[in-house]
Symmetry: none
Subunit: 183 residues, 4 copies
């Protein structure tokens, strides 16, 4: 969890959390362009409250993304505790699942100054996982952290395009990429 400058009053903090949860669901269902009125309604809160906390739609997405990256960090820590040959794949699979979560929709604004610090830290831990895997001979030497991000972003693209007509499975896509990562 990210700590805002001054801690919010208890009720305000609750509303913030409800708003984020509502936003995740609504954006996931209707796309990131969904009506903010809908978000407030689903959070059981007046629009004004939403706007007080998140002046723009972007602010909402950023907050969502920061929370998401926090989860990534947690997964990275967990993965770093595994044997080096397994950590990387475990991390990628775990994050894949996180992206299938409603909040995953925030990933779209991947780059935004506000998110930079969280992103930098994620990057660092992914580098650690990657190097461990490479040293253990579980990953090609020319793979970079950006490649890993590409795998995740790609899996997300697959998940989003999934429709009733075409049965694309992001999990299968991820495994295919994992195969491509092996030496």
């Amino acid at each position: 969890m990210t700590t805002p400058a001054r801690p919010l009053r208890r009720d305000a903090a609750e509303n913030r959390a409800r708003l984020l949860a509502a936003a995740a669901e609504v954006f996931d269902a209707q796309g990131v362009g969904a009506s903010l009125d809908d978000v407030a309604r689903r959070a059981g809160v007046g629009v004004g409250t939403l706007y007080r906390r998140f002046p723009h739609r972007e602010a909402l997405l950023e907050a969502l993304l920061v929370d998401l990256l926090d989860s990534w960090l947690a997964e990275a820590s967990r993965a770093l505790a595994l044997p080096p040959a397994e950590g990387l794949a475990a991390f990628l699979r775990a994050v894949g699942e996180l992206q299938a979560t409603p909040a995953g929709c925030a990933l779209r604004i991947w780059s935004s100054p506000a998110v930079e610090p969280a992103r930098a830290e994620v990057h660092e831990r992914m580098a650690a996982l990657l190097h461990a895997a490479q040293r253990a001979g579980a990953c090609r030497d020319d793979v970079t952290v950006d490649d890993l991000l590409g795998v995740l972003v790609g899996a997300r693209g697959v998940r989003e395009t999934v429709t009733t007509t075409v049965a694309l499975d992001w999990r299968r896509h991820l495994e295919l990429c994992l195969a491509g990562l092996r030496p």
Copy 2:
């Protein structure tokens, strides 16, 4: 190019083409939710004309997609003429490039009844390419056409999320997937 029921008058056909080109650019730049007024303006045409040709936003996207799939078909034919061990990879790379084109934005509505025939044909040719590759030992046996679509859709996701901050290269991502496809 798809041929509408009755051939359009020359000027009408020109307008149709201008509108599609304009839509591709505008949707690519501002997202598929962009104002149709903007599309008409960029096409140098009144909104009314746009609506006469494409009654909904969806119709526009479908037309874009049909054209896109036509290009896929052309690439597939070209690839089928190559040695079986090379055709599949060549096709995927070529389609990757097509998706980097403004019109690529249309891919988002992957499933839509209107597009079904074109999609079925693409599917068929991709199956041919895939089987050829598998018989030539250039591709794992458990790979399906849907996996290939996943690779393309994934690359598209990468391309779309690319930003100035994170340098994700869809081409590199595609190569990684190609590596994953090999036996």
Copy 3:
């Protein structure tokens, strides 16, 4: 009347006129901050139409002001035809009356680049009136055109502050200023 760059379609021109008339009345009654929805409603027109014609509130006020200045010009021409000793006072009285008109509310945005040309012309004719009056000995020599504008603006301030409690009469105020202008 001001001529827009390209002449409007007949119906559009009518709507424009209705909107200006409605705006004058509504702004006069409720202040320049009145709801634009009200303006559109009173004009018997959709809000969208109002916004198509006047993208901002300011645009509406400017158009109002330009029309008002056109009336000033007409009064100035009329006054220039009178004997030099009478023209100036006649003009100031006539413009005073114009300001008591609903459209007078536009005077508030006296300075705005868009209005500059109209204002410059008004200035010129007022200078002519002033010099004629001074040569005829009907006006002090140190009076400037800006002083005259001050008289008008002041009278407008009086008219606007008038309330039921204080019976301020802008006409009387204007006469007092006229007395102050005499040598």
Copy 4:
């Protein structure tokens, strides 16, 4: 200063003063329709505090006006001590300056029952000044107190309409009116 029914605690009195000062500045800068949140913020006080002290926007304006009229009274007393031929002009000039002050913005709600007592007293002293001036032959006999108010209100209108484009000087306007008052 007006004394409320029960004297306020020292800190409450301080807050009241800060709020009035803040309101004067904010209303002067953004108009009397400015956001009350802004007023509270500039006063360094919560909105709740503002509302406890002044239940409506009008109450704030009235308080501002009462303070303003207190200053008028002080100027009137000072002017009554001058030679009769000079008092009136001195008073009008002094009040002109007061109006150029941020608090001057309050003058807009000239009539309001709450202000009536203060206004009545001002009226009385202005009458004294006026009669003295008339008896001394420094002012036309037909001038009324309302005329004087008109002069002040007019000068205020000039000051408010002043912009960078048109250089209207309310001081000059006032002098012109003073000339008009002389016999």
